[in-house]
Symmetry: C2
Subunit: 563 residues, 2 copies
């Protein structure tokens, strides 16, 4: 008996296109005599659909699309499709208007509909905003011919993330997996849309193995793949046998179709040869960022991208990512030297462009600097030069890049890293400009690590970019460390503050200089207004700025240990 | 027996400052022999604290601040303070780590802690993200001397918003008010932080009256006042007797302390003379926007603001609001004419500045336009002028304004209205620049109405600004209606789409031209990337862009009726 996982890359809201993807997978399954096809969570509308769910018209269209899909699918295959279903009792008994559901389609009909029971409402997830939780175990009986029946337990994403023994704590009061195990299901399936973070593919697989062993159940895990705005879905769907072994796995970061065999005699998935998916964090992050750029451009309808090449390491990395994502002929690098730019900033950027084989333009910004300076001379009489003039240079560059983006219909990529975004070492309406912030969740120290990794076989990022001291070059002889602690120190403090959520005093206890810690935390607080206006940034950590980071701007911290 | 409501204006996170506000109110109550003082929801940390709640250090500081407050308050008064309390069972039984609570402080101690039962998770609210719901009715017995006891039922904000008979539907499965009525409480109190929307003060009072009558209970409603980022809290705290009459009411849009008398004989609040709070929507919105600007500036530490004065109606209204909020000497208007600016744009702006008595600067932008044009001439060879050059003008202005804001430490106000923000008739990194978008939730037709209302006694907004056709003046003889439907039509379509969430076909059924509706909806979808990078905008409607609007950017709508 064959079970298939369609690891699909939907476009949010594209009911016709996403249906076509499901149909195509089902047709391939038909040729291979698959009995059950599992697709990802909300595979019909893509995850996360966000506030599209608040428009009844969209919900109605989805119901129509689901009905049409049921009719068009090969009747002999059972297909689990992720969709939403209205909660008809909501206004009478109270509750949210929708369920996050999995519909079982077979023989031209919607046979059964299952409701997600655990609704993630943390970080980037807002499911309590839209959905009512299902209140019972979800299972169905699959007739696989010759009098054989299989009891299939259905879970949706978060439903499997409450394994008390694995996590050492409970997140929700109920555990849908335990409930299904008690209902003696033969196979556990999960429709997922689990976003990427560094190391998460491995951790997720450990959890799945743990549950398979704990409940002596084979697990079929179907994850979404592809990027939607800030979220990258890595895929790595997998089939795990009763012993907790991954017997087959989809590729990471691409669409894939996986077919496995359930053996009626052993009552388990038939073992296959599978290699470890473990890889260096740099390799994993690289693939996530490449997919993030590729999908954002594609799903927004852009073919080409433009970015500023400063000769620094951030723009070098983003250029390399964009080139991998879209092809060298679709990347334009713009060099915008000022009188404060070093000679090597031009030569380094040009060498990078040569290595990547991308085209470049050079636009010196001195004429615009002069024009702004003289326009403002009168108002600024008697005032010293300060950060204002530095910001102006950055904003002139931002304007030039947007003008090129507008004129040619290119997508502008912004190149700021997470260290900068944290402490506000970036210019709003300047270098922060762009439709997508490619590395805004990558700390500076990791930017270096990624570039080193990228250069493992051949020098893509010119050596001088890796070795020279980082500088914004907005005034003579400026380097980042005039204003900031060494990046090793800064990033460690930021990691503890942002990811580990330590207080000032706790961070100091780990050995950092109290004055440095306090200053960094103050900078992070003050930069909130900039981050609020940043473009969506690709999330690769467990706590990224963006949709999962919701901080007040107008606020005051009156305690010394307070974040 | 006297009960007091402290309608406070907290700063988010400012535990010391907010404690001081509560203390000051209590001291005033002491002089007036008040027995019970009620403060707003989360009065200790301010509402909404958002992701500050995810930092344990902050939670611990709040517990310390609460203990200190209990000690410092006059022992003889019972004070209900809004705070959070850890959910000690969370990791064992599953559930969120905190409760949204009301602490009863008396005799130097925390006497009891009550948990909010209904957690709003819609629009701008994210309470399920942080809080576990309380599971029982909250009440305490207040000893008021001479052997008299009062049973006080405690609810927190949303707890009173599930009146089935008032709304005609249920939002939650339980109704804390009915539960308390069944427990025979004598008085119902509510600690609230209910954000403003047009007409909401009146609607809220109707609901409170309805509940008072339905349960034959006096209601003490303590609402937060003041603005926190995008949210304005109007206040209008009130005391309502068993007959549903508002017997006393706090002022709207300012801090206030209200003391009412509970009559032990009638077992009801003693009637007082109170005038209707009803006013024109324009008057209400005006006060909300003025408070929004004043508090954002104050709480972020700005004394002065700067804005561009185009001679158009949007910037005129924002200038008037800023002048009212901060005083005429704290508002700087900057005129930045281009070769496409009409003569009247300068004279109208200067006349406005004269009427408001604010200072101005004039900076012609032609030199910067020339500098950019020649810098880009080479790359743009053979291309026609288009929207690129229009955006450049807007971005030059945006840069000049930010330069002034940076140099002088002013807050830049952006002046775009909701109609523009909806259809993207605005320039990212140009006129959208600013720390606060003052009227981004005000449709253009309402901008006119507000200005007409403002001119009711004397001409503040020059007549020519009100009568000339609106124009961005980014190319010769341009008017808005070259690109957009008449604003009456546009705003009606937008209202139906955004607030009423109608589908394309439903909007067409109300009588609009199908082609116009489809084009408007397409424009709204396409402008999502701009809105994502907009500054926080003051919310005055039931559905504003900003923290309560969560739409995907990379998406595709494949059905003709789909939003």
């Amino acid at each position: 008996m064959k079970i298939a996982i369609a690891q699909l890359n939907p476009i949010i809201g594209d009911l016709a296109g996403n249906s076509a993807q499901i149909l195509m997978a089902a047709k391939e399954c038909l040729d291979q005599k698959v009995s059950l096809l599992v697709t990802p969570e909300l595979s019909l509308c893509g995850y996360p659909p966000r506030d599209l769910l608040m428009h009844d018209g969209f919900i109605q269209e989805m119901a129509i699309a689901l009905g049409k899909l049921a009719k068009n699918l090969p009747p002999e295959i059972a297909v689990l499709v992720g969709t939403v279903e209205p909660n008809s009792q909501a206004e009478i008994t109270g509750g949210k208007p929708l369920f996050n559901s999995a519909a079982l389609l077979q023989n031209g009909k919607i046979q059964q509909v299952f409701h997600k029971r655990l609704l993630p409402t943390y970080d980037v997830f807002d499911e309590d905003r839209y959905f009512e939780a299902g209140d019972r175990p979800n299972l169905f009986v699959l007739n696989i011919g010759a009098g054989h029946n299989l009891r299939i337990g259905v879970t949706i994403c978060e439903d499997i993330w409450n394994d008390y023994k694995f996590w050492g704590k409970r997140f929700y009061t109920s555990d849908p997996v335990t409930d299904l195990a008690q209902q003696s299901v033969d196979v556990l399936v999960n429709l997922s849309a689990s976003p990427y973070a560094v190391g998460k593919p491995k951790h997720r697989e450990s959890m799945l193995s743990h549950s398979a062993i704990a409940h002596n159940l084979p697990v079929i895990y179907a994850n979404q793949v592809g990027a939607n705005d800030d979220l990258v879905f890595d895929g790595y769907s997998a089939a795990i046998n009763r012993q907790g072994q991954v017997i087959a796995r989809c590729l990471g970061f691409v669409s894939d179709l996986l077919i496995v065999e359930y053996d009626l005699e052993t009552q388990d998935l038939r073992p296959e040869s599978v290699i470890s998916s473990e890889q260096l964090p740099e390799a994993e992050i690289w693939q996530a960022l490449v997919l993030g750029v590729r999908d954002y451009a594609r799903k927004c309808g852009f073919k080409k991208v433009v970015l500023g090449l400063s000769g620094g390491i951030d723009s070098a990395l983003v250029a390399a990512i964009a080139t991998e994502a879209l092809g060298n002929t679709n990347v334009l690098g713009v060099l915008m030297p000022s009188p404060y730019s070093s000679d090597h900033s031009i030569s380094d950027a040009l060498e990078l462009a040569k290595n990547l084989e991308i085209s470049t333009e050079i636009i010196p910004i001195a004429p615009m600097m002069l024009a702004f300076d003289s326009a403002l001379a009168n108002i600024f009489t008697g005032r010293e030069n300060d950060i204002t003039e530095e910001n102006l240079q950055s904003r002139i560059r931002g304007n030039l890049l947007m003008a090129i983006a507008n004129k040619f219909g290119h997508l502008l990529l912004s190149t700021g890293n997470k260290s900068e975004m944290s402490v506000g070492y970036c210019t709003l309406y300047g270098d922060m400009n762009g439709g997508l912030a490619v590395i805004s969740d990558v700390f500076k120290t990791r930017v270096y690590a990624l570039c080193q990794w990228l250069n493992r076989d051949q020098e893509l990022i010119p050596q001088n970019i890796l070795t020279k001291p980082p500088s914004a070059e907005l005034k003579p002889d400026q380097v980042d460390q005039d204003s900031l602690p060494e990046y090793e120190i800064l990033d460690d403090i930021l990691e503890k503050l942002i990811s580990d959520r330590l207080s000032i005093s706790q961070i100091i206890q780990t050995g950092h200089d109290p004055q440095v810690v306090k200053r960094v935390v103050q900078l992070v607080n003050r930069a909130e207004f900039k981050r609020r206006q940043a473009p969506p940034g690709l999330k690769i950590s467990d706590r990224a700025f963006g949709s999962g980071w919701r901080m007040p701007i107008a606020s005051k911290r009156t305690s010394s240990s307070q974040f």
